[in-house]
């Protein structure tokens, strides 16, 4: 999937760029974005270290386990493959809470921690597990109770009007995300590799 989308975006960009005369801008964008990617990643180091350190304390103190146990009824349905008291559930819950509260800076490190713990349970290391896809989908459809600071700054007094519509719209998209993941994960197209095949051998196939 990603293979086609990734190549498709670049191929379309080059073809369209040639016809619209934007080809120089396309080249410049490729070079600029490669640079920006590294800047973003490097910029993450400090924040990542801070939150991963705090998370480690929360883990050692048993806080994560307490949170995970409290939300068992919900997480068991969303992530049936993950044991209810696995640390991944704690990280997932914390990441979702950070998203709901609009704490973007804290959400990313917590989400990456959750991914790492889901990867431990994943038998096919290069292929996303059902739990990983569900987690990502909920994440990108982000339920949010607090408007992003940028939106508040931009909209001024009108920000209070879109408060309710934003919550409702994000609720719709999250429900759609969960439904889509549950529906698609059973399709043959998106099936997991055969259990007896070695992950390395499956690495040749597409999607």
């Amino acid at each position: 999937m990603l293979n086609y989308i990734w190549f498709g975006m670049m191929a379309i960009a080059v073809v369209v760029g040639i016809f619209t005369g934007n080809i120089e801008a396309v080249t410049q964008a490729a070079i600029d974005m490669a640079k920006v990617s590294v800047e973003i990643a490097i910029g993450l180091i400090g924040i990542m270290a801070l939150w991963l350190g705090i998370m480690k304390i929360a883990e050692e103190s048993g806080l994560i386990r307490i949170i995970a146990r409290g939300l068992k009824p919900i997480t068991l349905r969303l992530f049936p493959d993950v044991p209810a008291d696995h640390p991944a559930i704690g990280s997932i819950v914390l990441n979702m809470s950070a998203n709901i509260l609009g704490l973007g800076n804290a959400a990313t490190p917590l989400g990456l921690k959750a991914m790492e713990e889901l990867q431990e349970l994943n038998p096919h290391k290069e292929t996303a597990s059902n739990a990983m896809v569900m987690f990502l989908a909920i994440n990108t459809s982000s339920v949010q109770l607090i408007l992003p600071a940028t939106v508040v700054a931009l909209m001024g007094a009108t920000a209070s009007e879109i408060f309710i519509t934003t919550i409702l719209a994000t609720l719709c998209s999250t429900i759609a995300a969960i439904a889509a993941v549950k529906f698609l994960e059973k399709r043959k197209r998106f099936a997991l590799p055969e259990p007896e095949a070695k992950p390395e051998a499956a690495g040749e196939s597409d999607d």
Binding site: M1, L2, I5, I12, A13, G17, T20, N22, A25, A29, A30, M33, V36, S37, V38, A41, L44, M48, A49, L52, G53, I54, K56, I57, E59, E60, S61, L101, G102, L103, T108, L112, L118, K125, E126, A128, V133, F135, L136, A137, T140, S141, L145, P148, L154, T158, A159, S160, T165, T166, L168, A169, T170, C172, S173, A176, A177, A180, V181, F190
Partner: protein, 182 residues
């Protein structure tokens, strides 16, 4: 009424991070006698490796997205989709933002700023735009970072599901605003 709730929540949001930074170590020290400093450092060490690990994935995704944006392909897609959107009552002014949102955070913020400057923060276009912006995430970036950090390359149904959710989010932003706001 809503105004004061909003203000209260944003006021409250200011305290969450400092309270977490102090609250978690406090609980750990008081309840479990965890050696907080030593444990913090052990956890923080992973920050560097994870950040460096995502670089190749970020470069791949952001370069493709950047090229796509710069080529003007988005405008082309806009023209192609215009008849369908008119049919379902989707305001054409909001389409660039809806298409940009899953691709680029800074790009969609720029488009939202344009909407506000051009039509005013009070306009329906700006309200729909802000609702769209607030209710979804940059799907491709999040996918690259999250899956990249653990070395997952085959994303299976993550992209179709994510884009479907984005489409539902954009459509519900339009209809909810038209229904609830005048």
């Amino acid at each position: 009424m809503i105004e004061s709730i909003l203000q209260g929540m944003n006021e409250f949001a200011k305290y969450i991070i400092p309270l977490l930074l102090v609250g978690i170590p406090m609980y750990a020290l008081a309840a479990r006698k965890v050696k907080v400093y030593e444990v913090f450092v052990v956890g923080a060490k992973d920050g560097f490796t994870i950040a460096v690990r995502i670089i190749p994935y970020l470069v791949a995704i952001l370069v493709a997205v950047g090229m796509f944006r710069a080529s003007g392909a988005l405008e082309l897609l806009l023209n192609l989709l215009a008849p369908v959107l008119n049919f379902i009552g989707f305001p054409p002014e909001n389409l660039p933002l809806a298409l940009m949102r899953p691709l680029s955070g800074s790009g969609s913020l720029g488009l939202l700023t344009d909407l506000v400057n051009e039509h005013g923060a009070d306009s329906m276009q700006a309200k729909i735009g802000a609702t769209m912006f607030g209710s979804s995430e940059t799907t491709f970036y999040v996918l690259a970072v999250y899956f990249g950090s653990v070395g997952v390359v085959r994303s299976r149904h993550a992209i179709p599901a994510g884009l479907f959710a984005d489409a539902v989010g954009a459509l519900s932003a339009v209809y909810l605003c038209q229904l609830l706001l005048r």
